[in-house]
């Protein structure tokens, strides 16, 4: 909802957190940040305002400067991927305001913190599931583009596959767009025709393909089970809330320059694997074998207690990966 920006409603003393997004909120990555901030606002912890679709670095810079100088925010959260320099420049101009941005680079003293979604843990677990479910020993992944955020998810997924199915082949394709679900679906269908019988939907559109091919699929960012209850076996979920809470702390206290990436780790509740859907009913798998579920749960426990750390590999994956060579 909007406002004229002037009214007071008794929540004046709550910190104002401003969300600043480069893409529209509908893009899942920024959508996850938005959801977390919204939930904090719903909990009565913060006041939350946002602006999205600042797609160029000059729009980002203008927006940030405008917000910092006119809106009296207590902290600004956003993503800086396409405008690193602009964000850092404005952050330096307003050292009293904490800036926390999704970024591939380092924090900057005194007030520029960075975060990222570190979904390698749920990705690894999902990979284990996929490896256990495939009968053709072929798994297809459709991703947006080979950027580090995506690469490390794909690579962790591949390692997970290897753990339960060392003979498997994982095929990876990119659609070079954050949207275009129709292209993603076509890419997924190409995987199916190349023999894949489990898919990983890093992007929207893949689930529809899995449903038509009647094979299991792994969702992304939010629990997508409802989209295809017979086919979505689980989803990788990013919880931004712990990161947001850490920023709220800065907003009410002192700005800091820290890497908030850890707050996205599974250990601290920053990410999770959605409850495994053991009721899937597909042409290749009817339900999920219990021992496979157990294996995944054991691994998850190991991750949580720190005895297993998923390796992080940000290199671009090959188009067809023989997991035994990984």
């Amino acid at each position: 909802g909007g406002s004229t920006g002037e009214e007071a409603d008794g929540s004046e003393d709550l910190p104002l957190i401003y969300g600043v997004y480069a893409t529209p909120l509908e893009e899942p990555w920024d959508g996850a940040i938005h959801a977390a901030l919204q939930s904090a606002a719903d909990d009565g912890e913060i006041r939350y305002k946002h602006v999205d679709d600042l797609s160029t670095s000059d729009a980002m810079e203008r927006g940030l400067r405008d917000i910092a100088s006119n809106e009296e925010p207590d902290a600004i959260i956003g993503d800086a991927f396409a405008a690193e320099e602009a964000v850092r420049k404005v952050a330096a101009e307003f050292p009293d305001i904490p800036f926390a941005f999704g970024s591939g680079e380092d924090p900057v003293e005194p007030n520029m913190s960075v975060f990222d979604n570190w979904l390698q843990d749920p990705a690894y677990l999902a990979g284990m599931l996929a490896g256990g479910l495939t009968e053709s020993d072929t798994i297809g992944i459709v991703g947006a583009m080979p950027i580090p955020e995506v690469n490390r998810i794909v690579n962790a997924f591949v390692l997970g596959v290897k753990e339960t199915n060392p003979q498997a082949t994982v095929k990876v394709s990119f659609i070079n767009s954050f949207f275009d679900p129709a292209a993603a679906k076509q890419a997924a269908q190409a995987h199916v025709s190349a023999g894949a019988d489990v898919l990983f939907a890093e992007r929207d559109g893949v689930i529809a393909a899995a449903e038509e091919a009647d094979i299991p699929v792994v969702g992304m960012m939010v629990d997508q089970e409802e989209e295809a209850p017979d086919h979505v076996v689980t989803s990788l979920i990013w919880h931004m809330r712990p990161t947001v809470d850490a920023v709220i702390e800065q907003a009410t206290g002192e700005p800091q320059a820290v890497d908030l990436g850890e707050f996205s780790f599974m250990k601290v509740g920053g990410s999770e694997l959605a409850e495994i859907n053991t009721d899937i009913a597909t042409s290749t798998a009817d339900g999920v074998p219990e021992d496979l579920v157990t294996k995944v749960e054991e691994k998850q426990a190991a991750i949580m207690d720190g005895s297993f750390t998923t390796p992080v590999d940000e290199s671009a994956p090959a188009s067809s990966i023989d997991v035994s060579k990984k």
Partner: protein
Amino acid sequence: MKFVLRGHEPRWLAPVAVLVAVLVTLALTAVPIRLAGAAPLAAYERYLVTPLTSTSGLHEVLLTATPLLFTGIAVAIAFRAGYWNIGAEGQFLLGAIGTTWVGTTFTDLPAPVALPLGFLAGAAGGLLWAVVPAWLKRRAGIDEVVTTLLLNPVALLVVQGLLNGPWRNSSSGFTDSDRLGSGFDLPALIPDSRVHWGFGVAVVVIVVAGVVLARTATGVRIKAAGQAPRAAEFSGVDVGRLQWRCALVSGAIAGLGGASQVMGVQHQLTAGISDGYGYTGVIVATLGGLGAIGVVLVALLLGDISVGAQNVSLVLQVPAQLGAMFSALLLLAVLSAMSWRRYRLQWRPRSRSGGSR
């Protein structure tokens, strides 16, 4: 009801037409603004007035208009010659690539060498991308609309390919290029603002283009070639060659736009370097009547709206799409109102009296 050609256009008509267009747009956008839960009046003020009433707002308008000035005049030149270059988007991107290449290769160059080199590389990039369709058109008569249009997504893929591959950021590994050498940073044109010398270059290009189009023999030939190619040919104008040259100049200017955006704003190559500037250039050029002054006015208007729209969505917390809706409506309204300049509305012919005897 029918439209009747006006005998002559009263002086007050053009400003009144624009005013009416603005009022209609305001009235039409009131509904979505209400739906989004904001007060229309506050929104209107921020769309149109706020950016123009503060110096920093004005500066931002100039900054935002800069790439549109380049693509607008680029498209205008080609269209004037009757060469339908819809490919300014791709040419802009290739310009950005050219500049990035020199900027990341010769990082140590001092500004006096680096900046001209950067612009040169940008122009070369744009020109390169314009050569193929122009050549196909000239040699084989292959339609430039298809080729220029389809090369736009290809240009974006070239950018993405470079960023995913050889030009991937060496420090973050993200898909944007390394920063250009600091010699390639365009200095501010207006002190303490973000308005950079790219704006100055754009103005120079537009003035030169305006003079050539309006005041020289070449300009007359271009106009003749565009409006009546057969007659131009008859009068000794080599239409094919003229279109070929205009196509290349157009591409080079669009490429300059890419160079300006890389060196003045982004300082690196990103996949989102062009926010559809090439496509918007078609609107700028056509709405600006394919003339230099028109291009400047329309680019500034669009710059104003886009700065204002950002301001609205930020201050009033309404979806950013409202800004797009506002500018699209204003565009169509202004265009409609302008047709009113040439025609007036008449309700039925006055008398058809007389009758039969």
